[in-house]
């Protein structure tokens, strides 16, 4: 019968089927590369990095010199998400932005299905894979799966959650707190089997490491600390210990704030990076012109050609800029290194933070060749400080010392204080440190500062907050072939 079996085995040479794949370490590496590139497709298809975490806070305005298509920034800044959806559809006023794609979640689920399949294949056993390799890839796939869920929770609230390979059942959307809790439970066990580094500088930051997992866990716990408020202390405690683990490891550090050093950080693959989608012109990585956030805040000489790049497309309102950097305020290296015309309410404004790595010149029209940073060490430090501050009491001193690591790097005066002021200061420090990195809107939501006009130019009422006005409208296609899916009713119910 063996002979028969051999006779009946035909290798399909015109296609690669699953039975021939996952046969070596190279196959796994290729599959992981696909998982990352698939997720990045979602970041690359629209101005998603700018829209989801920055513009909705209400501080970004189109420059007076910008065309009408840039009015989408106002739609975002006033939380008119249905208008954002409609105006960016094909033929719409701002169709280039393609923001309606943010409402479509299938690519995230493609990533999730791929991760689920990879994990199940790793469990089955893949030839030529050492135990350490297996652990690492399993942790990496779990990280990407949880990152997808976390990303979706922040965009849509409740999502469909599953981890089985080849999953094909119809499920309703699951409560987001439960999704995040499951992700935490999923990710925590693999944290310790994931190495801190891989001995390969080209994978630093670009590939998930233990630092990436810690950062994601911290973010997820801080999210749940608000929405699952009964358990918030537990979450803060855990975030504090994760932050400590990260610091104690000594693997990551903050680079000095000089033009050369900062250029390295914004280029990517640094020790300051916890996780990023690494992109470079050297590998022929082509980014959608709309994809990078920095596209909107740069002008000549950071963008070319000169004749039509005289002004930035958009600016951060001076009201916001004066808030985080009061006029004649304390010294801060970030002010000089990261901005030009920082209080200008027009296209002169430059967010120079992303202006390093300009490779273009003359009449070439392209953006600086930066990495797409997702989690940075400074972000994790400030999260730790925030958690410690929320724990209060004796932990406040610890919070201040962690906060001051970030302040020290910026050569800004050290903070000394406590109580509510400390929490507010940490929030403002996050605004200062992480501007343009797509976290501020989510900080506003999870700290509920979105309800307070002191912290945002686009506040919402508690009723809107509870009805999840902060979500994106979910595309109606999500209902196809699954009657259990309910769209985000804040956006379908006429607000």
């Amino acid at each position: 019968m063996m002979g028969c079996k051999k006779f009946l085995t035909v290798e399909p040479i015109d296609r690669l089927t699953g039975n021939n794949f996952y046969q070596s370490k190279e196959d796994v590496e290729a599959n992981i590369a696909r998982i990352y590139s698939q997720f990045f497709e979602k970041l690359n298809e629209s101005w998603v990095m700018g829209a989801i975490g920055e513009a909705r806070s209400g501080e970004i305005f189109p420059s007076p010199t910008s065309g009408t298509d840039r009015m989408i920034l106002r739609d975002l800044g006033t939380n008119s998400m249905n208008a954002v959806y409609n105006n960016t559809l094909g033929g719409g006023r701002s169709q280039g932005y393609a923001m309606y794609k943010v409402s479509i979640w299938d690519t995230y689920y493609k990533v999730i299905q791929s991760c689920n399949i990879l994990i199940s294949k790793l469990e089955e056993g893949i030839p030529g894979l050492s135990a350490a390799d297996k652990d690492r890839y399993k942790a990496e796939a779990t990280f990407m799966r949880c990152l997808s869920y976390f990303w979706m929770v922040r965009l849509y609230g409740d999502v469909v959650y599953y981890t089985d390979a080849y999953f094909a059942k119809q499920l309703p959307r699951e409560d987001m707190v439960s999704v995040i809790s499951k992700c935490i439970a999923d990710l925590e066990p693999v944290k310790d089997i994931m190495p801190w580094t891989f001995g390969d500088a080209s994978q630093r930051g670009a590939r998930a490491s233990r630092g990436s997992i810690i950062a994601l866990l911290m973010h997820m716990k801080m999210w749940n600390a608000n929405f699952d408020s009964g358990n918030s202390m537990k979450y803060y405690e855990s975030v504090a210990s994760l932050g400590k683990e990260l610091r104690v490891s000594g693997v990551h550090r903050l680079y000095r704030l000089t033009p050369e050093e900062w250029a390295k950080v914004s280029k990517g693959r640094t020790e300051e990076s916890l996780f990023e989608f690494y992109r470079t012109i050297n590998y022929n990585d082509l980014n959608n012109a709309y994809a990078p956030l920095w596209d909107h805040f740069l002008r000549w000489p950071y963008k070319f050609p000169r004749y039509n790049q005289q002004f930035s497309i958009a600016y951060y309102s001076s009201i916001f800029m004066y808030r985080i950097y009061p006029l004649n305020g304390s010294a801060d290296k970030r002010k000089e290194l990261w901005y030009e015309d920082m209080y200008a309410n027009d296209g002169l404004f430059v967010l120079k933070k992303f202006a390093a790595n300009v490779f273009a010149s003359g009449n070439e029209d392209s953006n600086p060749d930066n990495t797409f940073m997702i989690f940075r060490y400074a972000d994790a430090l400030l999260l730790e400080a925030e958690a410690l501050a929320n724990l209060g009491g004796a932990r406040e001193a610890e919070a201040v010392s962690v906060l001051n690591i970030v302040r020290d790097r910026a050569e800004a005066p050290r903070y000394a204080g406590g109580g509510a002021d400390l929490k507010n200061f940490i929030f403002e420090e996050r605004c200062r440190e992480l501007i343009g990195e797509g976290v501020r809107y989510f900080d506003l939501i999870r700290t509920r500062r979105i309800l307070n006009p002191q912290w945002t130019m686009n506040p919402m009422t508690i009723d809107q907050y509870n009805r999840r006005a902060w979500t994106w409208p979910l595309d109606a296609s999500a209902k196809n072939f699954n009657s259990k899916i309910v769209l985000n009713d804040y956006w379908t119910g006429g607000n």
Binding site: C4, K5, F7, L8, T9, V10, P12, I13, D14, R15, L16, T17, G18, N19, F21, D27, E29, A30, N31, I32, A33, R34, I35, Y36, S37, Q38, F40, E41, I104, W105, D106, T107, Y109, K110, V111, Q113, S114, I117, V160, Y166, F167, A168, Q170, L171, S202, Q203, A206, R207, F277, Y278, Y283, D285, D475, S477, A478, K479, N480, F481, N482, I485
Partner: protein, 1052 residues
């Protein structure tokens, strides 16, 4: 043809006992030989006393017999498949008895698992028809000739495209997989397995890429000339088919070609000259009539001054003096034509019992009734059989064929471009040297040349090791190469010429080894075993090249181009394939004195397609038969010639798993951090639990023949359950993948089949037979994937047809899901008013209905027409199909022989959608456009308030965009698709031998025949048969022509 061969010493004892009772009689010995008409010895002929008395002896393998009995006793010689004869015993040692082959259904020989078996010892359900029944009608596709001839075989000749196939189903629906949309939506073909001269062949091969397929699309069935066919047998139940395994889940059709059959070498010629005429075309208003109608339509229904002003902006309407717009062109006439065709067949055969040979040459030429289409066939089939001695048999055959076809503009079976161009406004000038529409050029000036060349050698050797035990080995090879070349001239393709070339090859090697054994114990118990295995390998590859924008119409090649203009090609998707199959089968039959028969069979099928989880599928079957007419109590009833009851159960398992479906497909896609990514293809989610489709079938049958076979009847009833049907479930976006192939759907088919044959006169000058058959088949959807809650709607949103299909558990499987049309609003006051808002019943876009609009049932009562107003209606599959036949023969010694054969078929209880009428009415939607208009006098249409009509007002062109009165998704188009079709009539005359002998001819027969003569139906569309398998009028496709033929048979 082997039968029990035995000598029995006990026989003498029995004879002695018999003799002792017979007083005063003289014992004599009579011996001799039994042969057939051609002098070949017949083995196993039973010799009985009296007409149906005790068996005395039987002939040995050289046909010899010897009997000792009293002189004057009557003895009867009988052999299955031959007319029995009886004679009075005399003392003669050199008697030669001739047995004549007969056409009695129970005595015929059927094939089970590649072995011939007497029908009376088989338990399955099958129908055999002789090659004679399908001759006299020239046809490109032999399958079409079977229509209406076999109960339970539903053939719909739904395309007239030369060289293409219609649809064929045995015992109802086996799939719920629908592809395509609108009038092009069709069921995944579930054609039976064809076994041609002992070699299985997949008839769906040319169709696997759908209707608008790439490549020539010449069905392999089109390459078999009907003249060369000896017999066709249709196996219907699972007992009959299970020995053919997985491929036979949809039934088996066995075609045997003719063998050498004459001691004197003879040459037989058949020639046919036939005329094909297009059906009646759509009446169209020409010239000024068109202009006047359009103007009247605008004046009568314009809503604004702008609508009137548009007349002056439409030169076709306003500039009637301009020669360009002052025509009356009959566009349809440019595309359709009556054509003259011919076919010639020469068969040479000869040989004796040791060696015989046959060669058949065939040429068939058909020009399509749509210009620039056609099909030619060239075929040579040579066979020789060699029997050096009784034990050894050797057969070799070579079949070479070439099919060549023109598909016109290359769109394949549908030719939808032609129908569209036929609708061009008559006001426009016809094509000329200066002017021609690109549609016209595309249809008629495209040079399309397709060919399918195939060569099939076949050898078989068999050896009888010991009496009754025979080993056989068969080897065949098929090599087919398919080509398509299309040259599209610049005028037909946006001013740039284009060249398309397709090349496909298909090779398959087939080997079968079998051992069979038969033995009779104690004269009563007969066992038969058949053990065989089959090995198949198959390779295929298809490539294509498309060169767009070639230099000019005069330069067709050789072409060299840069990559930019090479618009496509390479290896085609699904063009490459490699398959291997391995099967083992065993069948055993036991019978007790031919009265009680038990059949058992089991087959294992392995295929490289199955994936590795379950390499083999298993097909068991069991059957019983009771031949009541062999029972003693019926033996003496003279008028009962046959009375048998059969029952069987069997399973055909067909694997659904392919490597792609089970394991998924991985593509190179995306790169990250300088690494090329390989990820799963999200088209379908791998389903490792995919189960094979299992068709289990129970059959109960009755065969009877009375009054010397003057009345014959075969009845079968069955229940067929198709479980684990492959069902493509589209997935929610939260699953990442587009679809999953699940198999939790199931269908049941049950029904009855009846064939009756009446032969009022079987002897004498005038003979006649009348036959009728019918099949009732009902299908019910038993199961759907659980989460659908018993109903799944296949929404068709992409296309203007929007004719949805609903699958609802417990109902007919294929039902339409449509708006229910309840007539036409006679007056505005008839439109219901929503008491809550005071608004009239309206469209979702807000337009309220008014007089002349169709009444759509508001099923959810919300006064808005929306998707909740759809309902299940109709069944697109026919419930009843069948046919009739009538044969007269008048034979006069001096006048010659006259014959009349008539075949008809019918289909009843079927819902079809009259999309032809819908499209005709929709032609009125734009009086400013360049479409033709049609007379609507015959349509029961609303014209003015107060009219009670069936069809809404067509002239109000402003309503089309707002309420779309003739939308496709309403049951206004659903009509009863029952029809009765007179398939063919043949009148023949055969000259007497004396009359033709002096011309050196052996036989001369002339005949005239007509095919597709008339179809009687209440259907208001063009042809109720010219519909897709989903029951949608496809008259936009290739119409089925009528055919008139003159033919001649000459034997030299």
């Amino acid at each position: 043809m082997q039968f029990k061969i035995f000598y029995n010493s006990c026989m003498l004892l029995v004879l002695c006992m018999f003799l002792s009772t017979a007083v005063f009689a003289q014992t004599v010995i009579m011996s001799g030989k039994v042969t057939d008409n051609k002098g070949r010895p017949l083995a196993g002929v039973t010799v009985r006393f009296g007409k149906s008395g005790k068996e005395a002896t039987s002939t040995n393998s050289s046909g010899a017999f010897s009997i000792t009995t009293m002189a004057g006793t009557s003895v009867a010689f009988r052999l299955i498949g031959y007319d029995g004869t009886s004679m009075t015993v005399r003392a003669d040692r050199n008697v030669v008895v001739h047995l004549k082959e007969i056409d009695n259904q129970m005595d015929e020989v059927v094939v089970r698992g590649y072995v011939k078996r007497p029908r009376e010892t088989t338990t399955g359900s099958s129908t055999k028809i002789s090659g004679k029944e399908i001759q006299d009608i020239p046809s490109a596709n032999v399958e079409n000739l079977l229509q209406g001839k076999v109960a339970g075989l539903n053939i719909q000749v739904n395309t007239g495209a030369p060289g293409f196939r219609g649809s064929t189903q045995i015992r109802g629906l086996s799939t719920i997989s629908v592809t395509g949309s609108g009038d092009q939506s069709f069921l995944t073909p579930t054609s039976p397995l064809y076994v041609i001269d002992g070699v299985p062949m997949d008839a769906d091969r040319a169709n696997e890429l759908g209707l608008s397929q790439q490549g020539p699309g010449i069905s392999p069935l089109s390459l078999i000339p009907p003249e060369d066919i000896e017999s066709i047998e249709v196996l219907k139940d699972a007992q009959a088919t299970s020995l053919y395994g997985s491929l036979a889940a949809y039934g088996v059709i066995i075609i045997n070609t003719k063998r050498g059959n004459s001691e004197v070498p003879r040459v037989r010629y058949t020639g046919n000259f036939f005329l094909k005429t297009p059906p009646q075309l759509r009446p169209t208003l020409g010239g000024n009539l068109e202009r006047r109608l359009k103007l009247l339509q605008i004046y009568g229904n314009a809503l604004s001054q702008e609508d009137l002003d548009r007349i002056s902006q439409t030169p076709m309407l306003s500039d009637s003096l301009n020669a360009y717009y002052n025509n009356s062109t009959n566009w349809q006439d440019l595309f359709y034509a009556t054509t003259y065709n011919q076919t010639h067949n020469v068969a040479i055969d000869g040989g004796n019992q040791k060696l015989n040979y046959k060669a058949n040459l065939n040429y068939y030429n058909e020009n399509g009734i749509i210009k620039n289409t056609g099909f030619d066939r060239y075929m040579a089939n040579m066979r020789f059989e060699y029997y050096p001695n009784e034990k050894f048999k050797f057969t070799a055959q070579v079949n070479a064929s070439l099919g060549s076809k023109s598909k016109g503009n290359g769109l394949g079976i549908l030719q939808s471009g032609v129908a569209k161009n036929g609708m061009t406004s008559t006001l426009l000038p016809g094509p000329s040297f200066y002017l021609a529409s690109s549609g016209y050029n595309s249809a008629l000036k495209t040079r399309n040349d397709n060919s399918s060349k195939s060569i099939k050698p076949f050898i078989e050797a068999s050896y009888e090791i010991i009496p009754g035990l025979r080993a056989t080995t068969t080897m065949s090879y098929e090599s087919t190469s398919d080509n398509e070349n299309t040259f599209t001239p610049a005028a037909a393709n946006g001013q740039f010429a284009q060249v398309y070339a397709y090349y496909g090859r298909y090779n398959s090697l087939y080997n079968r080894n079998s051992i069979n054994y038969s033995h009779t114990f104690k004269e009563k118990h007969t066992v038969f075993f058949n053990l065989f295995n089959e090995i198949r390998t198959l390779d295929k590859q298809a490539n294509a090249t498309l060169q767009a924008r070639t230099p000019n119409d005069q330069f067709e090649g050789p072409l060299g181009f840069d990559g930019y203009f090479s618009k496509g090609g390479g290896l085609l998707r699904r063009g490459f394939g490699k398959e291997r199959g391995l099967s083992f089968a065993i069948a055993g039959t036991y019978d007790y004195m031919k009265k009680y028969v038990v059949d058992l069979s089991y087959r294992m099928d392995g295929s490289s397609q199955n994936g590795f989880g379950n390499l083999y599928t298993k097909n068991p079957a069991v059957g019983f038969r009771w031949n009541a007419y062999h029972e003693n109590f019926l033996r003496d009833v003279d008028w009962i010639n046959l009375l048998s009851i059969r029952t069987s159960w069997g399973v055909n398992v067909m694997p659904n798993s392919t490597l792609e479906r089970v394991y998924g497909k991985y593509d190179i896609a995306g790169s990250y951090n300088d690494k090329i990514g390989i990820g799963i293809n999200y088209e379908q989610i791998p389903n490792p639990d995919l189960k094979p489709t299992t068709t289990s079938q129970v059959n109960l049958g009755l065969d009877l023949a009375f009054f010397q076979n003057r009345f014959e009847l075969t009845y079968d009833t069955y229940y067929k359950k198709v479980n684990n049907i492959l069902f493509e479930e589209l997935l929610s976006s939260s699953l990442g993948f587009e679809k999953v192939n699940s198999n939790s759907a199931a269908i049941a088919n049950y029904g009855h089949e009846l064939s009756v044959m009446l032969r009022p006169w079987t002897e004498g000058r005038f003979t006649m037979s009348i036959g009728a058959n019918g099949a009732y088949n009902r299908d019910v959807l038993l199961k759907l994937p659980e989460h659908y809650g018993g109903q799944f709607v296949r929404w068709e949103n992409i296309d203007r047809y929007k004719q949805h299909v609903v699958f609802r558990v417990g109902t007919s499987t294929m039902s339409n899901y449509m708006l229910l049309n309840r007539g036409v609003y006679s007056t505005d006051a008839d439109v219901p008013v929503d008491p809550a808002t005071g608004r009239r019943y309206r469209m979702a876009n807000g337009t309220e209905f008014q007089a002349g609009d169709p009444i759509f049932a508001d099923l959810d009562g919300n006064y808005i027409l929306d998707e909740n107003d759809y309902a299940r209606t109709g069944n697109s599959q026919p419930l009843i199909t069948g046919g009739l036949q009538l044969n007269f023969n008048y034979n006069h010694e001096t006048l010659g022989t006259f014959g009349l054969n008539l075949y008809a078929s019918y289909t009843a209880k079927r819902t079809i959608l009259n999309n032809a009428l819908a499209e005709r009415l929709q032609l009125m939607n734009d009086p400013y456009g360049d479409r033709a208009v049609v007379p609507l006098d015959d349509v029961n249409m609303w014209l003015k308030p107060g009219d009670i009509a069936k069809y809404p007002y067509a002239y109000d062109f402003k309503r089309y965009s707002s309420i779309d009165p003739f939308r496709m998704d309403q049951d206004l188009w659903a009509e009863d698709g029952s029809y009765f079709k007179l398939n063919s009539v043949t009148l023949s005359y055969m000259f007497t031998k004396n009359a033709i002998r002096r011309y050196g001819l052996e036989r001369l027969r002339v005949y005239i025949s007509a095919d597709n003569i008339t179809t009687l139906s209440k259907y208001s569309g063009p042809n109720p048969e010219n519909v897709s398998t989903m029951g949608r009028d496809a008259s936009g496709g290739y119409p089925v022509p009528r055919q008139y033929n003159v033919g001649v048979n000459i034997d030299f």
